[in-house]
Symmetry: C2
């Protein structure tokens, strides 16, 4: 039963809370299994990878066979439909151009009035690992969205892992790797691949950060190796919130809502509109389009269990609701989307106007499609170049400037009972 | 036994690996206890906070007494030594000035050659919670280091929690809160305080992000509420790595090494030098200064268990070792620190030259003292203004620009088997 709420109804707040807190994800507890796999890979390296790949992917390899060769990558690309490869290249170039603008100034140094030289420097992470799921969820677009920002950041070594169950791999995924400039690819997956990236084996050198989507085992493994390496966010099921007035074609808005519903039965599509008749027309269009989808079952489950239509008196009333929902994707299909957008604080990505379906952001807009889900846009951002960089701060005093700020440091160290802190400053004063 | 390594020794790599992988932290498994406390606070709100505070802090309150009033904050500041308060104010102003330069441009919008309007906007997190430990680890400087960047970012509501065991609170911690502009302070701590910040109670509204150091219970609680709210890094024991030539006063370098050793028996202090006689002189100075410390026992335990002295043939050989150690704090007490610094990739903060003891960075340099530990400087950065902000991306197509990039999106959606994605674009083409 799709949720239908009217902001003017007396029970609205209760109903809205139910939408906000709908439990969409059932988290499997796989922590013990994953911990054992990680231990095994740490202890036995390649031998464990070979065994686990035989067990889970039904694929017999030796250690030398773990890596997918450059020839295999090239052969995979050659097998792909050339129009699709061209589309991937267009996407890669647009993603590169957008993310290049995120590069921070490498260094900022200045000397303040006390004569203290201060600053910071950004440097790239040295090596990054990219997890790519196998099977039906193998999306070449995700390879680009994760690898291109790492390249732009200046990461020197990017390692891709992708499971190939029964030896099957999506050639477009390998083509995307080539287009993104990745040459080090291994045919491994699951928690064992995450463990190999984090700790290294005889044939795979460890990385410093692991990114990319995966199933419950991959997510649990990423959480467990966090600290040893950096990780990206653990993404939840995708979401779209469309704010639309009655001037839209209901069929267009229905298509947008379904574009997220088809991802997963746990996905959520929400429409906020100021026109009840339009809401009804969209619902009818959703029903009509659902029947056309080969993924109808998934999309229908998502729409019927989590789909939501909220009618508000006026569109401005949507602003507060959007901020509380903090959607991953927000479409503003209204006459003046900028006016609304300027007032909204919490959203991963905003699609402005009637001609910007969210799906352009999934592929070719240039913006990243790895975005905060489950209301985490309140405190986090989509994947960016900065996720593959880190900042080092710099301080330099000389005898004079230490003389100016040092005594305050000594006073605070003493107040905190940290004598050695105080001595390391006072021993240099008046010298 | 302090580690003593010579880079030219045949067993150096083995010995260095032992230093790299020394297990310094014993992680208590408190997850079950913490999960029960979080559940209790979610279920019973203020009543649970009152009970748990009576139990753990031996403090009888009613719900109205959870908050520390503005009068109490002012009274605490009035009790403090005025020179110390002035030092805190100097520190706050210098931290503010340094962090103000981290503020990103609020917005970047541009139209590319395809006619697609793209951009992003940075906004502040709406509400942040700051955990401050009670008892001996109550450091007013940490209040400033966490609160000032949040203020600079534009966080509208900053909530501080600090346990007051037996009703005792460090007045300097409250003075620091006032100086940082925090007015909402609660006398609660432990996992129950983290739960209250994440989920809210009748008298405490929830926040979006929680930062600040704490014991094993606080760290476990932060991990468990992550996702519901954002969290900062989970900091490990502190570290200092000093690269020093023989031109330094051994006593100065000994003081610097001890300034981190005195924090915690698990802290680690490392010296890298190109002069064995100098190394010996520093060791003797450490021994001499240890005896002067009221925290001698802690500092000695740290120095004897984890302290390390590495001699290298020439100072440039330190670069590769520094990058592998990825220290939280790096001092370059050499003639040309910039030349070395330019070649180093992994460090949280760098202190340049002979007159820049690390302790100035703990208090008054202006840089942040919340820095990546346990080699995580390979992939993460110190606390900054960006940790209290998030970025929303923007895309706008019109009919023409969608006509240019839309067909590639349709091609990729079809290649990925996502028909509704494709339809949401194709339905708008040629309209």
């Amino acid at each position: 039963m799709t949720f239908r709420l009217a902001a003017s109804a007396p029970d609205f707040e209760t109903a809205f809370q139910a939408v906000l807190h709908a439990k969409r994800e059932v988290s499997e507890d796989v922590n013990k299994t994953v911990a054992a796999i990680i231990e095994d890979v740490r202890a036995r390296g390649d031998a464990a990878l070979v065994e686990l790949t035989a067990k889970f992917d039904r694929l017999e390899l030796d250690a030398a066979g773990l890596r997918i060769s450059g020839e295999d990558l090239a052969a995979a690309e050659a097998k792909c439909d050339s129009a699709t490869v061209e589309a991937l290249k267009l996407a890669a170039e647009r993603i590169r151009a957008f993310h290049a603008r995120q590069l921070p100034a490498a260094e900022d140094r200045f000397t303040d009035e006390a004569g203290v030289e201060l600053g910071h420097r950004w440097t790239a992470v040295e090596a990054a690992g990219l997890y790519v799921p196998g099977g039906t969820a193998a999306y070449p677009s995700s390879v680009l969205m994760n690898a291109v920002p790492a390249k732009v950041a200046g990461v020197e070594r990017i390692v891709m892992v992708v499971p190939t169950p029964d030896g099957v791999v999506n050639p477009l995924v390998l083509a995307a790797a080539r287009i993104a400039g990745i040459s080090e690819v291994y045919r491994i997956g699951g928690a064992q691949a995450v463990a190999a990236l984090a700790y290294g084996t005889e044939s795979i050198a460890p990385v410093d950060k692991i990114v990319g989507p995966g199933n419950a085992f991959v997510a649990a493994a990423k959480r467990q190796v966090f600290g040893q390496v950096g990780i990206d966010m653990i993404a939840g099921p995708s979401e779209i919130l469309v704010v639309a007035d009655a001037q839209n074609d209901p069929g267009w808005i229905a298509a947008d809502l379904l574009s997220q519903a088809e991802h997963d039965a746990s996905s959520q599509s929400i429409l906020i509109t100021d026109d009840a008749a339009f809401a009804k027309a969209v619902e009818e269009a959703v029903e009509g389009q659902l029947k056309l989808l080969s993924r109808e079952k998934i999309a229908r489950a998502s729409w019927e269990e989590f789909g939501t239509i909220i009618t508000v008196d006026k569109l401005e009333d949507a602003v507060a609701l959007v901020d509380r929902l903090a959607p991953e994707h927000l479409e503003l299909a209204v006459a003046d989307p900028d006016a609304l957008a300027a007032r909204i604080r919490n959203a991963g990505a905003v699609f402005l106007g009637r001609y910007t379906p969210e799906a352009v952001g999934d592929y070719v807009a240039g913006t990243n499609h790895v975005l905060p889900t489950a209301r985490s846009a309140r405190f986090s951002s989509g994947l960016s170049v900065l996720d593959f960089m880190k900042r080092t701060s710099y301080v330099r005093c000389d005898a004079q400037s230490l003389g100016r700020i040092g005594p305050a440091a000594v006073a605070l160290a003493e107040a905190e009972g940290l004598e050695a802190h105080g001595r390391s400053v006072s021993i240099r004063l008046n010298k």
